[in-house]
């Protein structure tokens, strides 16, 4: 095993719980499609069903982080195709501000993210999950986990 792989494994070990809020429409749909197609993704991904990403506010995001999540993401319908008009866009605005807030606190802004997916395409959900994990590992590599330094 190379040194690099050791580091990677160490980081992988630090990714335990990633809370993903998925909307009842495209979010859940794409994750179900991914399951049916037996696609693979990191077992740290924990999906919570919500009606719409527009329902997820900074309160839920902070609840998850305060209770030990390593990262939080919202997955909604594609932009312009929200089943409840514009919930995904509103959620995106709030997450933008949350990211900014974390930067101001001196943390990476990669602990919180927003994605979209398409119900018929499982790979969109898996792509999102992989991106979450990748961003999180990079953040951990650079500055440690969100829990570090306490």
């Amino acid at each position: 095993m190379t040194e690099c792989e050791v580091v990677d494994e160490e980081i992988q070990g630090k990714i335990q719980d990633v809370v993903v809020f998925m909307c009842n429409e495209c979010g859940q749909g794409s994750a179900n499609t991914a399951g049916v197609a037996r696609m693979k993704y990191d077992p740290a991904i924990r999906i919570i069903r919500v009606q719409c990403t527009g329902q997820v506010g900074p309160i839920q995001i902070m609840d998850a982080l305060n209770n030990g999540a390593d990262a939080v993401a919202c997955v909604g319908c594609c932009l312009g195709a929200c089943h409840f008009f514009n919930g995904n866009i509103l959620s995106m605005h709030r997450i933008k501000l949350m990211k900014k807030l974390f930067k101001e606190l001196g943390y990476s802004d990669q602990f919180i993210n927003q994605y979209t997916s398409r119900a018929a395409e499982g790979e969109t959900a898996v792509g999102d999950f992989e991106d979450i994990v990748e961003r999180l590992s990079n953040a951990i590599k650079d500055e440690g986990t969100i829990k570090d330094g306490c």
Partner: protein, 676 residues
């Protein structure tokens, strides 16, 4: 939940309805499904069930081969009857697949179906982590714990039957509105059809031929116009508009304002009045290609055939009053307001042709450029009822043009001026008209300047080919300018043929602009009266572009035809038929069933900011004169978007409250708080 005294009645009922079962001790039954090998092959189901049994309030934790099978469902039912389980958690497949099976089962033995919590360990766990058995089992335990946590505080949600008003309102009597009205009426539903113009039929009656078969549009539409005008269940209001709309899905109350025609219904349409009227104006219906009087009928075949007086331009000489053989003319008629109750509303307000005068280099509408016209004007010239006897004549000198240049994408596909979208029908009608001109005047050169020719669908490519074969010239390039020779007065179109990269100066006796379809004037105020949302292009926004293109953002209000976005006639008719079917469904059934999965409001915390109303897309939040919000339970779509918006957290969607989500979040987040 608390309700301040003297608050809106509606919300007091709400208080009773979402009454929480705080006193009842939760007794949770957890059922872990093997799904054959689908789950059990990866997840150690026995271990998960064992873990579940240690969780607080869990009175039964089982695992079984197929929970969705008859014995499996019976296990769930038995636990309720024998152990007094009052909340069930089944860890198997997705909510969509078997969530309903178990919800129905617990309902059969007397529990509210919302007390069932489905945990998806198959799609979200065993199927996607097949190689990582240990981690998958750990994850399943977390997911089950989350389900148990969530189920602990689940509230009962009532399903209510709400009777609907068996009548529909259709706004706009173009082809879309007519189609919808007729289809609804044929289903036995009374229809109020409101048209702002004096006649019905819309843009289609103006056209010369319809593509791709070159049929006569008047002949195609007349069965529908006559059918609607004579249908016993359709009440037609022309010269009318919507004043206000109140209510929601199933029960709307609409005020219609009917402007006076100043001619009574006993008009025999003899035309004596118009013949003697001294005032002459360009006809709007004829796109200014002919004249009308101050008392007029839009066109000879107009329905209703009753004449109408243009009050603004009438000089009140009273000639018509005196000459009318049946004394039908009455200048004292007043506007009327009618209130109707309907269950569904269809908006079929159509479109306006884009006004190209915005595009400076094309000089449309400017003096000296009378020979620059739009396609609709060309249609009027070509039409059998035209002033020119179907001849194409230059507006400036009345001569037959020797060269015609058509410019595509005027107001479409342009980031700088006009609109970004492709109107989608201009290529087809330009090709159709080009072919007709070429057929009628073989000596006339006809060119079409295009960016891309878009003729998808059956028969359209053939139309394109036939135009090419007959000698219509296609030039790929967007013209930069139309110039006028100062001496000869001839028009030329400056364009670069981008295929050969040659700059061209095309001499044009007549220039025809294929103008875009744009949202009709006045759609903004209409949209806000209906409380429905518009897309950024200004058309009315559909509920979902793919899965529900006819429903608007608000339940019970449907979109038909171009008002949702540019369409050709066939698409419009299909869209209108779909709108009619969807609008009819709750009315034919007589009631709608609504799960009262709606937000509740804590009035002690509410600061009356009104933001919940602002973001509520289906306009389900009403604010009274004191600024106090209340939820319209029928209109609500249970999206929960009002929750994070509320600055004090006063509005909470039941079963998705902050504390209920928190319980679930705690279980999956793994513990070990970040430092504060």
């Amino acid at each position: 939940m608390t309700v301040k005294e003297g608050k809106v009645k509606k919300t007091e009922q709400l208080g009773e309805k979402v009454e929480r079962l705080e006193n009842e001790e939760p007794r949770i039954g957890v059922f872990m499904c093997h799904c054959g090998h689908n789950i059990a092959g990866t997840v150690d189901v026995a271990k998960v069930a064992e873990y579940a049994s240690t969780l607080p309030n869990v009175v039964k934790a089982e695992h079984y081969m197929f929970m969705c099978s008859k014995p499996g469902v019976q296990m769930v039912k038995d636990s309720i009857e024998e152990l007094g389980v009052n909340r069930t958690v089944v860890a198997s497949c997705s909510k969509n697949q078997h969530g309903k099976t178990f919800a129905r089962a617990i309902e059969e033995v007397g529990l509210n179906k919302h007390r069932h919590q489905q945990v998806n360990v198959r799609e979200y766990d065993s199927w996607v982590h097949q190689k990582e058995k240990e981690k998958a089992t750990q994850k399943a335990m977390r997911l089950v714990e989350a389900g148990v946590n969530r189920s602990r505080k689940l509230e009962d949600v009532e399903t209510r039957k709400i009777p609907t008003t068996k009548a529909a309102l259709v706004i706009g009597a173009g082809i879309a509105g007519l189609r919808s009205s007729y289809d609804l009426a044929e289903l036995g539903i009374p229809v109020y059809l409101v048209e702002k113009e004096s006649t019905i039929g819309g843009h289609m009656t103006r056209l010369n031929k319809t593509f791709p078969t070159l049929e006569c549009p008047q002949c195609s539409i007349s069965p529908l116009t006559n059918g609607v005008a004579n249908h016993p269940l359709i009440k037609l209001y022309t010269n009318a508009q919507i004043k206000s709309v109140d209510g929601s899905l199933g029960n709307f109350e609409v005020e219609i304002e009917i402007k006076p025609r100043y001619v009574k219904d006993n008009c025999t349409s003899c035309g004596e009045c118009a013949a003697h009227c001294p005032v002459e104006l360009p006809s709007e219906w004829d796109m200014g290609m002919s004249m009308r009087n101050a008392i007029y009928k839009a066109y000879p075949q107009a329905i209703p055939a009753t004449y109408i007086r243009d009050k603004k331009n009438c000089i009140e000489c009273n000639t018509c009053i005196n000459i009318c053989p049946v004394q039908a003319i009455d200048f004292s008629m007043q506007p009327e307001t009618k209130t109707v109750k309907v269950g569904s509303i269809i908006v079929a307000a159509g479109y306006d042709e884009y006004d190209p005068s915005e595009i400076e280099p094309y000089h449309y509408g400017q003096e000296g450029y009378e020979d620059v016209i739009t396609q609709l004007k060309l249609e009027r010239m070509l039409s059998p009822t035209s002033l020119t006897n179907s001849e194409v004549l230059r507006p400036s000198d009345g001569k037959i043009p020797k060269s015609v240049v058509m410019i595509q994408c005027v107001g479409s596909r342009n980031d700088q001026v006009g609109n970004q979208y492709c109107t989608g029908v201009c290529c087809k009608f330009a090709i159709k008209n080009a072919r007709i001109i070429k057929e009628n005047y073989p000596d006339t050169n006809v060119s079409i300047c295009y960016i891309d020719i878009r003729t998808p669908g059956l028969n359209f490519e053939e139309l394109y080919k036939s135009a090419q074969e007959i000698g219509v010239r296609f030039i790929r390039g967007r013209p930069s300018e139309i110039i006028k020779d100062p001496i000869s007065g001839d028009l030329s179109v400056i364009v670069e043929d981008t295929l050969t990269q040659t700059p061209l100066k095309l001499k044009a006796d007549l220039v025809v602009l294929s103008a875009a379809m744009v949202p009709p004037e006045g759609i903004g105020p209409l949209g806000s009266k209906l409380h429905i949302l518009r897309s950024k292009e200004g058309f009315l926004k559909e509920f979902h572009i793919k899965m529900n293109p006819t429903l608007s953002s608000k339940g019970g209000i449907f979109l038909a035809g171009v008002i949702q976005g540019p369409k050709d006639i066939s698409e419009t008719v299909a869209h209108a038929g779909s709108a009619a079917a969807l609008a009819a469904a709750p009315l034919v059934k007589g009631y709608i069933e609504r799960e009262m999965l709606i937000p509740s409001i804590d009035y002690d915390l509410c600061v009356k900011c009104g933001l919940c109303k602002t973001i509520c897309a289906p306009a389900a939040i009403d604010i009274d004169e004191n600024g106090i919000p209340s939820v319209n339970e029928v209109a609500c779509k249970s999206c929960g978007m009002c929750m994070p918006v509320c600055p004090t957290g006063a509005i909470q969607l039941i079963n998705f409250r902050d504390e209920q989500l928190l319980d679930e979040i705690i279980a999956v987040s793994g513990g070990g708080a970040i430092c504060e």
